[in-house]
Amino acid sequence: MARAVAAGHVTATEGVRAALARIQQHDPQLRAFVEVWPERALAAAAAIDRRRDAGEHLGPLAGVPVAIKDNLLLAGERASAGSRMLETFRAPYTASAVQRLLAADAIVIGRTNMDEFGMGSTTETSAFGPTRNPFDANLVPGGSSGGSAAAVAADFCPLALGSDTGGSVRQPAAFCGVTGLKPTWGRVSRRGLVAYASSLDCVGAIARTAEDLALWLDTAAGQDPGDATSLPATPPVVTQLAAANDLRGLRIGLPWELNGPGLDDEVAAATDALGAAAREHGAELVGVSLPTVAHAVAAYYLIATAEAASNLARYDGVRYGLRRSGASRLEAMTTASRSAGFGEEVQLRILLGTFASSYGYEAQFHGAAQRVRARLAADFAAAFAHCDVLLSPTSPVPPFPLGSRRDDPLAMWLCDALTVPASLAGLPALSQPWGATADGRPLGSTWTAPAGREDLVLRVAHVLQRHSDHHLRRPLP
């Protein structure tokens, strides 16, 4: 798209018009977007076209319509993080990840639906109603970046930003048959990302191809003076991909704990098939072990909820956000505002996190979880002594119908089992679509690499996408 705009084959305005028309046609059913910004997008497109006509240099994402998740701030626009609490909140500054998009001449077209504050795996906890899976409107799109995954799957835009705390980019990408990248923790600045669990939150992206994700990562990565935990830049990846034709010399580790019997048969078969395809292109498969993975979900929930309870303490109805007025006492005002502004799942997780970090429990619960985390990171390091990347299914189950798991926290919990280990260890991971269930539901598998090695997961997915068409399945006409 960017190349087409730069070369003059298509104008940015034409591209944006087409995207807006497609959104208008299909999004009333899908509800991938919480809000579309047509005027902003068309004005930005016109500016790009003028600059191209004037012979100016254009950025690497010139004219590309991009959707941003509702938890990334864009100055002057609303950002609600899927919550009633922030329904009318207007951002006074722009997230660094969005600034990088704009600096690369991408065109931000709207904000996408999400589970409230990222807390969910189906986009059903959004205060603005669920998003539907473009492959089947009865299915969930996954979550929490379900709106972004659905927007790319529906061809509303070739790229959408998401965020991934415990799998929130990878799992919806798998459910919607698109490619999703969760970078190394700290690779992309979190400044302007509404926090869920800071030590796990990563800005990620969803696109049709790994190549487009590489293009995005090269513009997005790098140290940001606005985020003290951001990492220094690494060499660009896109240029490396051009020469990547096969996987010779690549050792792929299959952690048996993530490829175990809790898996749906079709899911396991799809990942096996992906492994086999990689072997055909020259990769070697080896079995590895991550013994601490069995405890990852528990550790993840303790850490994520404790940090969430902390991060969400700022929503007190004083400076911004929903306030229930009428209460004459301060404490009652704050309690009423938070109880009205947060949905049930968010409230439950805040209470759990308060428990996990409260006096007398912190050492046992949150502290123990942090020790598990340290041990898990050591497991990954040991596994990477034997291989370059790891392969596992993205979700233990295929996309499921809306409402089918809402009241089953255990099932929701298991949804995250395969994605949270990389989150706890802060590793880069990419989910690519591969195969489908007998009834046509998309399936995805995830590549995980050592910290800082996004190039590895992008390369392996890119090579496989060059020689296949799993990622090109388009659900909508």
């Binding site: 207007r90 303790l302 938070r338």
Partner: protein
Amino acid sequence: MHPGRATPSIAPHVPTPPDVDRALIERLTSLSRLFLPAERHEALAQRLQRIVAAFGSLAEVADDAERATPAAGGPLRADVPGPTLSVDEVLANAPAAAANCFVVPRVVDA
């Protein structure tokens, strides 16, 4: 292909009876500034129960391990004053404001 597939790895851990009583729920809702209607106490109790149960498994694997802690970072910010928000920007999203300040119900220290 996978030698160890026989061992269940993502199955839930056996829950142990939690000590989730009314006092604990009141303490948590008070600390969190949330009002939890009685009909939702059960949902919280169930989830707490899972956390408590999960803790048992965490404690046994991680008794001796170091805690993961924040890593060392890059250079710190130089002490140079920068731009601030205007008062209008500060108060732009405020539910209530007066005299260039946020307004909340009167706080009485007692």
